[in-house]
């Protein structure tokens, strides 16, 4: 492989008539990366994914894969494979035939392609279900089959369009772990579109937060969470309080703030407790501060119950100056 074994997006733009869905984004995703495109609906993340997949034409800009321009190549010749949100398993074909579909299109004989398909089914723990029809499988099982079908083409990048959104919460977390395991074992890039920041934080090596067709911030999940660049990122990724100070806005993580029942020495922000939400390991206390509006403070359950606060109580908020992180306008 060349020195630049990566997927590169260069000034990638998608316009639908007068509306710009994706606006000249630049991004490099090294091979073997689990990348998450994160953002609210309509932020351009799906359009970006579909352009990489070749299911959406590029209005302007380029997509390079290992320094090769793939912008106008058909989907199957890009080294990518896509897993659709609805899975799009062919309803008239058995699980094995679904997985073997790409080999059939290439003219591989039946015995070889079915054997290979069964190997892939083994990989996703679906070997016993090879002869079923997609409708006879649960959502999670269908997803595994869709995964096998995408992987049989030996892609160097797997594109996943909100792969977990159709699953129930319990299954979602299980499949999440499994996706990560597969990506690590296969050593290929996964590009995963999601609107769930939990999912992105849990899975990604590299998070790309999008908003209004642009990239707001990208980087390792820890950086994005710890140091959100803009107010949008801080709000979207969650876990932050936004404070409007005289010299610009600041973000402070909700778990970096502490609630004091008595006025401490030095500076502290007076506030009133409005709600207490018990979350098991944490307790979220919503307070209203006259200077900053509604804020949330996350307190560990032990600390909270050692000195509980009540709704309506007057408290003081305190945080270390180094935990206040200034945001770009």
């Amino acid at each position: 492989m060349s020195a630049k074994s990566a997927l590169e997006l260069i000034k990638l733009t998608k316009r639908y008539g007068d509306t710009v869905a994706v606006e000249a984004i630049d991004q490099t995703i090294p091979n073997g990366t689990y990348a998450c495109l994160l953002g609210p609906s309509g932020c351009g993340k799906s359009s970006t994914l579909r352009m990489i997949a070749g299911h959406e034409t590029v209005s302007s800009g380029d997509i390079l894969q290992n320094s090769l321009n793939i912008t106008d190549l058909p989907p199957a010749r890009r080294g990518t494979a896509m897993m659709f949100q609805s899975y799009a398993l062919f309803p008239h074909l058995s699980v094995v035939d679904n997985v073997a579909f790409s080999l059939k299109m290439k003219g591989v004989d039946k015995k070889t392609r079915q054997a290979e398909a069964r190997q892939l089914l083994e990989l996703v723990d679906m070997a016993p279900y090879g002869d079923r029809l997609p409708t006879q499988l649960s959502g999670g099982q269908q997803q595994r089959v869709a995964l096998a079908r995408a992987l049989i083409t030996k892609p160097s990048i797997l594109l996943l369009d909100e792969p977990l959104s159709a699953l129930d919460p319990f299954l979602r977390i299980r499949m999440r772990t499994e996706l990560k395991r597969l990506q690590r074992e296969l050593g290929i890039s996964f590009i995963h579109v999601t609107h769930s920041q939990d999912e992105a934080l849990a899975l990604a090596d590299h998070i790309i937060v999008m908003n209004g067709g642009r990239i707001e911030q990208d980087g390792p999940p820890q950086t994005v969470f710890d140091a959100p660049r803009t107010e949008f990122v801080a709000r979207f990724i969650g876990g932050h309080n936004i404070l409007g100070e005289t010299h610009g806005k600041m973000a402070v993580r909700t778990d970096r703030m502490s609630i004091l029942q008595d006025q401490p020495e030095g500076q502290a922000m007076p506030a009133t407790v409005r709600a207490v939400e018990y979350l098991g390991t944490m307790v979220n206390v919503t307070v209203e501060a006259p200077d900053a509006g509604e804020l949330t403070v996350s307190v560990g359950d032990t600390a909270f119950f050692a000195k509980p606060v009540e709704i309506g109580q007057s408290v003081f908020l305190k945080w270390k100056p180094e935990h206040a992180h200034s945001l770009a306008a």
Binding site: A76, L89, S94, K104, M105, D131
Partner: protein, 279 residues
Amino acid sequence: MEARPRSFYFLAAFFVLFLIFLYGPTITIAILSFQGPQGGLTFPMRGVSLHWFHELFQQQAVGDIWGSFARSFVLGLMVMVTTVVVSVMGGLAFRKRFPGSAVIFYLIITSLVIPSILISLGVGLIFSQSGLTVHWSTSGFGSQLTWTLPFGLLIMFAVFNRFDKSYEEAARDQGASAWQTIWHVVLPIIAPMLIGVALFGFTLSYDEFARTLLTAGSYNTLPLEIFGMTTNVTTPVIFALGTLTTGFSLIIIAVFLITVLVLNRRRARLGSDAGKGMV
């Protein structure tokens, strides 16, 4: 059991009346076709026999029953195949808006609202004026298509409206060419609906009267033949013919339904674990 409101009985009675109105004539004809050899065109029944069915297979004084049946059958198949093929292609074309698509759509639909007999007259005139032979397999065929194609196309609109585009994207993603996508993915998925379109095409053609009236030429299709016979034939043989053709239509419908059923069964069996040999 819960007490039914009075409106239930009223509506039920109304519905029964409707059913009688709908099927009464057919059933009456079916009963009368078993009229005894001495019986006439109306009640009372003078005995019960298969005499008139037997008579149907004899040389008729008026009417070429079996010839016209064969023509109707072949024409039905021609119309059926053409309707399916053209509707699918049209349905695929109309999935994307193209310049003039709205105009073409309305032109197609217009032929549904023009009175059938006018179309028949027009097609017949065009053929005879341009020196072409007016024949059931040419002018008659074309004239019937003005009826079945718009219907077929409308059905395909409904089919493709509900068709999930991601199937095609997935196929393309998997390296299928445009043809392979149609052949291996789109057509198999819409196959059950195509059977419906086929059945539609066939039955619409098989009982079409007005559109074939002035376009069939010298050889009649079955509906035309039956109509001719009603004015000339004075025996219950015409009832026997009616019963037989109705039965034939029912058989055709049954064949199509069974085909769908068998297709579904085969798919379902594929998936069940019962009797699964090691493959």
